[in-house]
Symmetry: C2
Subunit: 344 residues, 2 copies
DNA sequence: TTGTAGGCGTTATCAC
DNA sequence: GTGATAACGCCTACAA
């Protein structure tokens, strides 16, 4: 076993001072040619690499980014994460992930854990519980400490910071409009409870599209399911009573499950009922029939979030410029597949 | 903005020494009641939290685990990650994830980046390219430096370290056996190229089951696809020529895609062709028909890997006990769904 | 009961 | 050219 070697070891071995070694390895002009060569050769031989922790302590910069997401086994978040990781890595940053599991407490604990020097900034999507409680003190503390924060997807107006979101409302609006134009009259909405801001916005888009086309809102056509949707009975009944000819779902899983139920009841897709889901994930692509869905461009979102964060981190070093926060909006795009009639 | 406060600040403010503050905050018996109270009150007021980096430097333990996986947008790895994260977090560890993207170079770079003090140990699954090149020097260096390493799923015999795998061979063997018992005669195997050790093992199980039942191996029934499987033509032709009555696929995506092709060609599932896939992920569950598949118990795997790693990390502190490496084998289980006939 | 000093590994400033 | 010193924030053995 050959443990890690330090500057001190090299210095002792070569009978020079630590600072000489340090400078020699940095190819400083101050150091004599032969000393430099000697030191560099020795370092290479013993595979010297500076200790990140020591450097972090000195520079007060860890080159680590903290990412806190509600769930990692979820295609959208996973995709965003990939975008973050790729960009951050290319910039020399590492990513520490914590999963809040949709729980407020875990979110708070994780943030505090990381905020004590482990990371240079946060990228996060709020947990369901946090949105429900409307308690954002942990975020406030972070920003007050001057730690950069970027919120994505699940954001809040209560906190002043950079944000990246998609145009949920518009996307839903356009999806419903397409359905209306295709002649659908009874368009249903399958959503989660209201406290998730993205669901709320998608619902808004749904309402707007109906209104704009003079279609009255029928609350019998709106199904609110708990986030996990264990219970299929509710959805089954819904189809019997609501008799929709099109369904907009706020996520893929809802869409797939609903399609299943509809198929079981003998409806043809898309002839009898058309389906559009949000989150263009793996399920949409491989569903049967394949699902028309709204692509949230997760990877792009992650990349932009990372970009914004790293810029803030590296700007903070320079000077205390006037803090300006941005909210970037990514345009969702609809991916047409077989669960909808051909739109013109 | 209120920046982070340090022991030094408290000491200055309260006109005591740094060590007094340090001890007072640890409730040391050495310190007088009133001093302790004063210090603790002040610390609470200003929300003092020790700096992780400084502690890491001092203790030479970061309480960080490095996880290197080939791909995060992949249900199996994601699941393993969740297991790791949950357990590690409960033990007070944070997880730094790097994605190798199936590339050797990225794997090496990421490891080196983290090995310089950022983490206390690694959990990883080898990238495809690493397995193909059969070059494990980066792993050797890590272990020689005394950094604990746990390999999971994509492992190698070349490296002495803890490992967690599933009984791939047996699982494939049993799956094929079930198909044979159900009367299937032309059982196909759809797999990746050989260098992925898990695929190789699954193929072995497939061969064994055939042999044990006196069925000759027909190479026309074996389809090797590139990892990404862009090309559907190959698979289409395969069905025309091979005419299988059952198919074992080494992953879900292959299975789903093959089912699609079979359906398009008018075969009924499972009556004409039965399908079994590996990786019991979200696709298997929501496919149409739902896919019988081999559950690799990713979360459990992650948990065990984390457990083994943390044990090694914390044992290393104590003494230089004789190094013993374990390979834990998790039993895969088959989840029967609608793509196979009812097995007895 | 409190404080001093040294060290974890590195870098930067300044003196020789 | 080279080296001593201090500093990043914390801990702890030892001294007062």
């Amino acid at each position: 076993m050959k443990p890690k070697i330090t500057l001190k070891h090299i210095a002792r071995e070569l009978d020079v001072s630590i600072s000489t070694v340090s400078k020699a390895l940095k190819n400083s002009e101050e150091i004599g040619r032969d000393t430099k060569e000697k030191v560099q050769a020795f370092a290479k031989l013993y595979n010297y690499k500076p200790n990140n922790i020591a450097i972090s302590l000195k520079n007060k910069r860890t080159k680590n980014i903290g990412v806190i997401i509600p769930d990692i086994v979820h295609h959208f978040f996973t995709t965003v994460f990939r975008g973050i990781e790729k960009y951050a890595n290319a910039q020399g940053y590492n990513v520490i992930v914590c999963v809040s599991d949709e729980a407020f407490d875990k979110e708070v604990i994780n943030m505090e854990m990381l905020a004590n020097g482990s990371i240079d900034g946060f990228i996060m999507a709020l947990s369901g519980e946090t949105q429900q409680k409307n308690d954002f003190n942990h975020l406030k503390e972070i920003t007050e400490q001057g730690i950069p924060l970027v919120l994505f997807d699940r954001v809040t107006d209560e906190i002043q910071c950079d944000k990246v979101i998609i145009n949920d409302m518009e996307a839903a609006f356009l999806a419903v409009k397409k359905l209306i134009e295709a002649g659908r009259k009874r368009i249903a909405l399958v959503t989660t409870e209201d406290f998730l801001n993205v669901s709320a916005k998608r619902a808004e888009g749904y309402y707007m599209a109906l209104k704009e086309n003079g279609i009255a809102i029928d609350h019998g056509l709106i199904l609110k399911l708990p986030y996990q949707m264990q219970d299929e009975i509710m959805s089954e009944k819904f189809f019997d009573f609501a008799k929709p000819d099109a369904v907009l779902c706020v996520n893929e899983i809802f869409a797939i499950k609903c399609m299943r139920i509809a198929q079981k009841k003998g409806y043809r897709i898309p002839e009898d009922i058309a389906f559009i889901g949000f989150t263009d994930g793996i399920l949409s692509k491989y569903a049967n029939p394949t699902l028309t869905s709204v692509d949230q461009h997760g990877e792009e979102m992650g990349k932009i979030a990372a970009q914004m964060l790293i810029e803030k981190i590296e700007r903070d070093d320079d000077q205390e410029v006037e803090e300006v926060f941005e909210t970037k909006i990514i345009s969702a795009t609809m991916v047409e597949r077989d669960s909808t009639p051909k739109f013109s």
